[in-house]
Subunit: 223 residues, 2 copies
DNA sequence: TTGACGCACGTACACCGTACGTGCAAGCCT
DNA sequence: AGGCTTGCACGTACGGTGTACGTGCGTCAA
């Protein structure tokens, strides 16, 4: 469990932290579509317009949600480890978002954050790569590659149905598709609509780490 | 340019195709946030509720937009080519979405489509991979990897700011970040806030194709 | 004590999705 | 031809949305 993000004071005065906590809670319970200023206010037992004393508008509030969730990921970095292990750890830390805040994942992924919370993972990743001997351009390239992979993977994992959907196990694929039109899809349907997200993520991660390692000519040694 | 999607009849009666065309146009001109049933109706010079004779609700309308955009990608497949070339072509075709319909990209990516339009690219990809000798599991794995990469790359490319933002060239990074807190980000700022999306995409694509090729032990030959 | 200020709150407005009812035109069956 | 069904454009209405603005109350500084 991530570090109990904003240390929400459960009572007393309103605050940005309490509002964000309520918003995150609401998103996780009922989905992003259920979020409205009125809903959050009523959740907090407070007038709607009171929120605007702590948050400029709804969009900024959602940015705050994304930022808070992102800053809640636990990056445990071991500067002594091999760069491949460090990258692995950082990527997995990112994926924790999809576990702890599945309904918020879309928010985090769909707004780029220029705040500290958004820059910190970038800084860590770049430090790791540069420490492993990557040049500036190579490091940025590799980082972008990892981010694209992680973002794409998380979106697949959270299913990204807007409101409902616990996780939609059997997504009405099988026997629904015409085997004449889509022979491969039809034949592979069992494989397609079941997905071990963890295994899939780990597979892609290893593939990427190894590929980037050999690309930069440091598949083995280095530090 | 994609194939003039629904062959919109410019006048006469209302139709699902005309509504979808108007919606796509509106999204591209003013962003997804500008889309409302009233807005689309007034765009078409028609009463709001007339739309509901052709579309069950707004959500389905947006699904239709995503589906239409997706079905507009030009997949030119050469069954005789090497599988690596075919995969390259398919990935690039996908990326065309971000060029022709940048503001719609988020819609396409954020709703999974179980329709023909959504299944066709999957079918094609699986067919080429299986034709190259990939087993069922390997093919599905590889496909998921490619999709994650492509989705992540497209999201980065379209910037994914909800409404405005032409593309935000210099995104207020440089001289904004504290070099003491984020030394790497600060040092690499010029590299970070400029991005040749095409080159970046091609780099990742080659990396992935090569990695998946060697992973499956068919880096060179095969067919 | 008095003034300023922070902040919770109510009201109001423009806009949203859409349920429901109405009326008109075209096509079908006797 | 007369009647009926059906399809479709449209208006009205309801509950919900973000938020601009004004008001009043508490707590501090002078």
């Amino acid at each position: 469990m991530p570090t109990e993000l904003p240390t929400e004071p459960p009572t007393g005065r309103l605050s940005r932290a309490r509002i964000l906590a309520a918003a995150i809670d609401l998103v996780e319970r009922e989905g992003a579509d259920a979020v409205s200023m009125r809903r959050i206010a009523s959740e907090l037992g407070v007038g709607v317009m009171s929120l605007y004393n702590h948050v400029p508008n709804k969009d900024a509030l959602l940015d705050g949600v994304a930022e808070t969730v992102l800053s809640g990921v636990e990056f445990t970095d071991d500067p002594g480890a091999h760069w491949t292990d460090r990258v692995r750890m950082q990527a997995r830390a990112f994926r924790q978002i999809a576990h702890h805040y599945p309904r918020c994942t879309m928010l985090v992924v769909s707004r780029q954050l220029h705040s500290h919370a958004g820059l910190l993972p970038v800084e860590r990743a770049l430090a790791t790569l540069r420490g492993a001997g990557f040049g500036g351009e190579d490091a940025v390239r590799a980082l972008r590659m990892f981010i694209a992979f992680i973002v794409g993977s998380l979106l697949r994992e959270v299913g990204v149905t807007p409101t409902f959907a616990p996780v939609h196990a059997g997504t009405l694929k099988a026997e629904e598709v015409d085997p004449a039109l889509f022979p491969e899809v039809s034949a592979l349907a069992p494989l397609l609509d079941s997905c071990d997200h963890e295994a899939e993520f780990e597979f892609g991660l290893e593939l990427l780490i190894q590929a980037i390692g050999v690309h930069a000519g440091r598949g083995e040694g280095a530090r």
